[in-house]
Symmetry: C2
Subunit: 201 residues, 2 copies
């Protein structure tokens, strides 16, 4: 899950040599992603991140104004993607389940660590983040779309299970595959989710 980044030393006109701010920023986000996933958002301190960065809190605050901002930066991209999936799923009357579930798999595969931390359900993160964005509602929309119009409770449950299945399955597959998701695995996860969703689709 850790990404090796080659850090170039940049020469400025005035002769100051240093790592670029954007490189450091990216590194901070990598560390935060991992720690939030392991310890949760509330369970991770700025000091934790700074230590792993090999720097001090002061340095970190040069790059981010607050802990919230780190979270925002981390979550922004996958949040937008999830929002798009929810929107599409809701718009069309009966979107093929296969399509929606596949989109969820690909979303998570594209943003493994941050998606994991966000979507895996860290309560402290959800609580903090829901003040501005809205994950649960988007998930609910996707579940509702999968369940179809006027669903029985049983159908709703199965839809929710299917969504969770792609989440857990993709996460597990990424772990087994050291960060890479094979086409075979993707198909397998999709099949399992559809198996859970059951009849009609």
């Amino acid at each position: 899950m850790t990404i090796d980044i080659h850090i170039p030393v940049v020469k400025y006109a005035d002769g100051v040599s240093t790592r670029t701010a954007s490189e450091t920023r990216a590194k901070i986000l990598d560390i935060a992603r991992e720690l939030f996933a392991i310890q949760g958002y509330a369970g991770t301190s700025i000091a934790d991140i700074a230590t792993r960065l090999g720097a001090t809190k002061g340095a970190l605050y040069y790059h981010f104004k607050s802990k919230d901002q780190i979270l925002d930066a981390l979550v922004a991209e996958p949040a937008a993607a999830l929002s798009l999936i929810a929107e599409r799923a809701t718009k069309h009357p009966g979107p093929p389940a296969t399509e929606v579930l596949a989109a969820l798999i690909d979303l998570q595969a594209d943003h493994p660590a941050s998606y994991l931390a966000v979507y895996a359900g860290d309560p402290s993160l959800l609580k903090e983040y829901t003040r501005r964005h809205n994950f649960e509602e988007q998930t609910d929309q996707i579940v509702a779309a999968l369940a179809g119009p006027q669903p029985e409770p049983a159908r709703l449950i199965r839809a929710r299970i299917a969504v969770t299945a792609v989440k857990e399955g993709t996460m597990a597959a990424l772990v087994l595959g050291h960060g890479h998701l094979t086409a075979d695995m993707r198909a397998e996860i999709l099949a399992a989710a559809l198996g859970a969703l059951g009849g009609s689709a």
Copy 2:
């Protein structure tokens, strides 16, 4: 999810009338269960719990020596039950999947809120609690037992999805049913999980 408890006023020989310690203790655990589930372990303070209790932190510390102890008390029972399921699943060479998954459903239905908080994967809680107990290993054992001997990666993934399916499905069903799990729903969840698990069982 909140349980209405009738609080008896106890008359002691010396004339002191008060709520019994065990009643208050139980109430504290109820509140902690709920808050931990919503905000996470790290995201919930002793003050939060005391406020909801309508008492002060000092009073709370009379009943529990530390925040850790509240967690321990909360988790002890479902943890023991999960441990038993894992043990049984591992012992018998090829335990019927239906049996194992049903046991998981019933476990969660019997301990909804605390099981939810424990098992739903609050990272801060996991981190804190894994120092003494071991949930992930037990889950892994159950997954391995479901997958069978020398499983392909795909089979492992499906087994993990099946376990997650009963977790999520039961939780969703309990929410829909206001805390009660009907036999129909139980069967539906089991079917969905088996559908995700796929061939052979």
